[in-house]
Amino acid sequence: MSRRKILFVSAVALLALAVGASPAHAIELAPPEPHSPNAEGIRSAYWVAMVTAVILVFAIHAALIAAVVRYRERRGREPRRVAAGRGALRPVVGALSALALVLFVYGVFQTAEVREVEAAGPDGLGSTQSAQVGVRGSIAAAAGGLDSATGETPLDDSEATQTSPLLIDAIAQQWVWRFEYPGGRPGQRTFTYGELVVPVDTPVILDVTSTDVLHTWWVPALGGQVQAAPGDVSQTWFKADEVGRYEGRSTIFSGTGTPVMRSWVKVVSVPEYQDYIEQLNLDLEEAQGAVAENQEEQQTSGAAAAAEGGS
C-alpha cells in the first residue's frame, strides 16, 4: 500500500513540476491574452474544446482506475463472464454522437464568428462596412483585390488609406515578411519588411501569400494561423484593441531560417499611423530619387568609361 502511495505522490509531484516549471505568466493554460475579436473567438473555442477534452480524460481515467482497483485479481475472485447483448452499447454510441454533434455545431458557428470582420471602433480609422474573410482566391482572382472573391465593390486606392477595413498584402519569403499597404503611388505601393504598422481599433484584412515556399502567418494575440502558399492567397483579419507591439512567427518548416521567420505587428494610434505611412512614402520617393540619380550617374560614367575604353 505504501509503495502505491509513493508512486501516487511522485506522480502528482511530477505533474506539479511540469506545470510549475513554466513561467508564471503562462500558467493560464490558454493561448496568450487576445487583443483582437477573432483571437477572442479562438480563445473561447479553445476553452470549450479543452474543457471537454479534460473532462473526458478525467472521466475515462476515473473509470479505468476504478475498474482496475476494484476488479484486479485477488484470491477467490472469479470473473463474471458477462458480455454485452445486442444494443447494449446504444446509450454509449448515443452519448458520444451527441457530444460530437454539439462540438461540431459549436465549431461551425464559432468558425463563422471568427471569420466575421468587425467594423472599426470609435478610435479606429474610418468606419464603414463589415466583411467576411477566409474565402480563398488564386493569384489570378486576387489580382483585382480581395473583392472578386467576396463580391464587394473594389475600394478606390486613394480612398483605401482613409477607410476600413484596411487591405494589406502580407507576402512571405525566406525568411522575412513584406507588407504592402494600401495607397501610395500607382504601381508603387508603400511597403515595410518584418514589422507591420497598423492603426488601433481598425479592422485589417491581410491577403497572405508567399513568393517561395510555404510559411504561416500567425500572431497569437491577434488571431489564428494562415498558410502563406505560393500561388494562393489566404485571408485573415484582426482588429487590435490596444496600442502595442505583438510578436508572431511562422510555424511551418521553411528551411534553416525557420526560427527567424518572425513578424511583428505594431499597433499605433490613427494619426501616428497616417504620419508613418506618409513618412514611408516620402522616404520611398527620396530613395527612388537617389536611386534614379545614381543610375543616371552610373549610366553617364559608364558611357564615359565606354567611350574611353573605345578610344
Partner: protein, 595 residues
C-alpha cells in the same frame, strides 16, 4: 491408365540427396515462412525505433535551453527530416506489421500465408527503403522537413540529393507495406480455417484486416505523390510547382491523407492487441466483440476522411474544413466505444496485473490523453491556434507513443512467448514502463503549454525573450526519460530473446485464441491439425470440454488393469497429439494424455 491407379493410397516419398542444411542466417533471410519474415520485420523495426529515440533525444538536447548552439541548424534540419519518418514509417508501422504477420495466420488457423514470396519481398523493399534513406548520411542527408512539403522540397530550394533519398527511401518502404497488405488481405479472406467466420475472427485479426485495407488504399496515394514529387525534381515536372500551374497544396493533401492513415494504423494495431490482452488477463470475454470489430471498421472508414483536420490553416475552401471537422469529431464515437468496451471488459473480471496487462493499461491511458486532445484540435478555431505548434506535436506523440510504442511493447510482451518460447523480462519491463509513463507526461504537458504560447515545431532554436525556457527544460528531461525507458525496454527485448525465462507451456497466459494452440515457437507449418472452431474463443472451448469430460468420466469398477485416462481426448484427438512436447503445462489441453 488402369482403374486401380485412380484409387488414392498413401504415398511414401523418399528424397534422394536431401540438400545439406544451409547456415541459419541464410535460412532466416530467404525463408518464405511468414514467421521468419515477421521476425525480420520486428527486429528491423525495433532497431529503427531505437534510432528514432536517439534522434528525438538529440532534437530535445538542442532545444533544452534557448538559443542553443550545440547542434548546428543544418544537422538539426536533417534530424527533423529523418526522425519522424524513422519513428513512424521505419519503426512503428513495420513493428505493427511484423506482429500482424506473425500472429494473424496463427490466429486464423492457417498453415501459412497466401503469398509467401510477396510477403518476403515486402520486407526487402522496406529494408531497401530504410537503407536508401540512411545511406544518404554518407553524402548529403535530407533536410526538407517532416513530410518534404513542396516547394521547399523542390530542386530550387533543396538542390542536394538528400531530398531524393528521402523520397525514394520512403516510397520504397511504403511499396513494401502495400505488398505486405496485399498478402495480408489475401490471407485473411482466403485462408481462415473452417469455423473462423468473420464474426468469430479474433480482434487483433480484425484490426489487421482494417489495417490491410487502409494500406491498400492509402499506400499507393503516397507512392504516387512521392513519384510526382520526384518527377518534379528530376524530370521537369510541374505537379506541385506553383509557377507553372501546379499546386503545392495537392502534395499537402496526399501526404496528410497518408500520414493520417499511418496514425490510424498504429492506433488500430494497438487497439487490436489491447482487445486481446485485456480479456485474457481479466479472464473474461471482451465486452462486445461486435462493437469492437465495428469500431475498427468505422475508424478505418471515417479516419482517413478527416485528413484535412491538420490543414485548417491551409488555403482551403471553407466547406472542406467544415467537412474535415465533421469527420474528425465523428471519430470520437468509435474510439469512445472502444475505450468503453475495454473498461467494461475489466469490470467484473479478475484482472491479473502482469507486464502485458500493465502495458495495455498504460497504453490506453496515454492514448486517451492524445485522442482527447485530438478531439479538441478538431474544432476549427482551436486548430487555427495550435496546428504546427509543439502542442499538436505533443498530442500526436501521446498517441504514437501510447499506441505505437507502449501498445507495441504490450503486444510484444504478450506474444513474446509465442515468438521464441521465452518470456520478455517482466521486472525490467515494468521499470521501463514506469520511465515511459513519467517521461511522456513530463515531455508532453509542458510542450502543450509551450505550443499555446506559440512555440512552433521543427525549429532549431527559440529566443531568450519568448518565455519558453522553463517548458523546454522540463520537456527535454521528460523526453530523455521517455527515450531511456524505450531503450531500456529494447535492451530487455534483445536480452530476453536468448536469455529470458522459458515460458510455461505453449499458452502461458491462458489465451483463448488459436495462436496459443500452436507450439512456441510454432513449427514451419504452424499446426499439425486445426481444432474445430465454434466460437471466438476456441481454446476456451477445448479447455471446457476437457474439464467437462473429466468430470463426466466415471471410473469403471472391477477392471483394475485398465488405467483411467485423466481426460477424454475426444475434442483434441481430431487435431493434435503429435505436435506437443511432452511434459509441459498440465493445464494445456494439448497435453491431455492420449489414450
Amino acid at each position: 491408365m488402369s482403374r486401380e491407379n485412380l484409387i488414392a493410397r498413401p504415398e511414401v516419398v523418399s528424397r534422394q540427396g536431401v540438400p545439406a542444411p544451409r547456415p541459419a542466417w541464410i535460412e532466416r533471410t530467404t525463408s518464405g515462412d511468414h514467421k521468419q519474415v515477421s521476425l525480420l520485420y520486428i527486429g528491423t523495426a525495433l532497431s529503427f525505433l531505437a534510432l528514432a529515440a536517439v534522434e528525438f533525444m538529440l532534437i530535445r538536447l538542442q532545444l533544452i535551453v534557448p538559443e542553443n548552439t550545440m547542434i548546428n541548424p543544418e544537422i538539426f534540419d536533417q534530424l527533423v527530416s529523418v526522425a519522424p519518418v524513422s519513428l513512424v514509417v521505419l519503426g512503428l508501422i513495420p513493428l505493427a506489421l511484423g506482429l500482424i504477420g506473425f500472429i494473424v495466420p496463427l490466429q486464423i488457423g492457417s498453415r501459412g500465408v497466401a503469398l509467401p514470396r510477396l510477403n518476403q519481398f515486402s520486407y526487402w523493399l522496406y529494408l531497401a527503403g530504410a537503407v536508401t534513406l540512411y545511406a544518404s548520411f554518407l553524402y548529403q542527408a535530407p533536410d526538407t522537413g517532416t513530410t518534404a512539403l513542396p516547394p521547399l522540397s523542390d530542386t530550387v530550394f533543396s538542390p542536394t540529393n538528400g531530398a531524393d533519398a528521402w523520397i525514394v527511401g520512403t516510397a520504397l518502404a511504403i511499396s513494401g507495406f502495400v505488398c505486405f497488405a496485399i498478402n495480408l488481405v489475401a490471407t485473411l479472406t482466403r485462408m481462415r480455417a473452417p469455423g473462423v467466420a468473420w464474426r468469430r475472427l479474433p480482434l487483433f485479426s480484425w484490426a489487421a484486416t482494417v489495417i490491410g485495407y487502409l494500406l491498400l488504399v492509402l499506400g499507393p496515394v503516397m507512392i504516387a505523390a512521392l513519384v510526382m514529387l520526384e518527377i518534379d525534381r528530376r524530370f521537369d515536372g510541374v505537379f506541385f510547382d506553383p509557377g507553372d500551374g501546379g499546386a503545392p497544396l495537392l502534395y499537402e493533401h496526399f501526404s496528410n491523407l497518408f500520414f493520417t492513415g499511418t496514425y490510424l494504423i498504429v492506433l488500430l494495431a494497438a487497439a487490436g492487441a489491447i482487445s486481446e490482452i485485456l480479456p485474457t488477463f481479466a479472464r473474461k470475454p471482451i465486452f462486445s466483440h461486435r462493437a469492437v470489430a465495428g469500431s475498427f471498421v468505422a475508424i478505418g472508414l471515417i479516419g482517413p476522411l478527416a485528413w484535412m483536420q491538420s490543414m485548417y490553416e491551409a488555403p482551403l475552401a471553407e466547406g472542406l474544413t467544415i467537412i474535415a471537422m465533421g469527420f474528425a469529431l465523428a471519430l470520437a464515437v468509435p474510439i469512445g466505444v472502444l475505450v468503453f468496451t475495454w473498461i467494461a471488459t475489466i469490470w467484473e473480471g479478475a484482472l491479473e496485473l502482469r507486464a502485458p496487462s500493465l502495458y495495455a493499461l498504460v497504453a490506453i491511458s496515454t492514448m486517451v490523453f492524445g485522442l482527447a486532445g485530438e478531439l479538441a484540435y478538431s474544432v476549427i478555431p482551436v486548430g487555427w491556434a495550435l496546428d504546427n505548434t509543439t502542442a499538436s506535436q505533443a498530442d500526436t506523440l501521446y498517441v504514437l507513443v501510447g499506441a505505437g510504442v507502449i501498445g507495441g511493447f504490450a503486444a510484444l510482451h504478450y506474444w513474446f512467448p509465442k515468438l521464441c518460447g521465452r518470456l520478455l523480462g517482466e521486472g525490467i519491463g515494468k521499470a521501463a514502463l514506469g520511465l515511459m509513463l513519467v517521461g511522456i507526461h513530463l515531455y508532453a504537458i509542458p510542450m502543450i503549454f509551450a505550443g499555446l504560447d506559440g512555440q512552433a515545431v521543427n525549429v532549431f532554436e527559440y529566443f531568450d525573450d519568448s518565455g519558453l525556457d522553463g517548458y523546454n527544460l522540463v520537456a527535454s528531461f521528460g523526453a530523455f526519460i521517455l527515450a531511456l525507458g524505450i531503450l531500456l525496454e529494447l535492451g530487455n527485448t534483445a536480452y530476453s530473446w536468448n536469455n529470458g525465462l522459458s515460458a510455461r507451456g505453449h499458452d502461458p497466459w491462458g489465451g483463448s485464441t488459436l495462436e496459443w494452440y500452436a507450439l512456441s515457437p510454432p513449427p514451419p507449418h504452424n499446426f499439425d491439425a486445426v481444432p474445430d472452431v465454434r466460437s471466438s474463443e476456441p481454446l476456451r472451448d477445448i479447455r471446457e470440454a476437457v474439464v467437462r469430460n473429466a468430470e463426466a468420466f466415471v471410473a469403471p469398477t472391477g477392471l483394475e488393469r485398465i488405467e483411467a485416462p485423466a481426460a477424454d481426448p475426444e475434442p483434441v484427438a481430431a487435431s493434435d497429439a503429435g505436435d506437443r512436447a511432452p511434459g509441459s503445462d498440465p493445464d494445456d489441453p494439448g497435453n491431455a494424455p492420449v489414450a
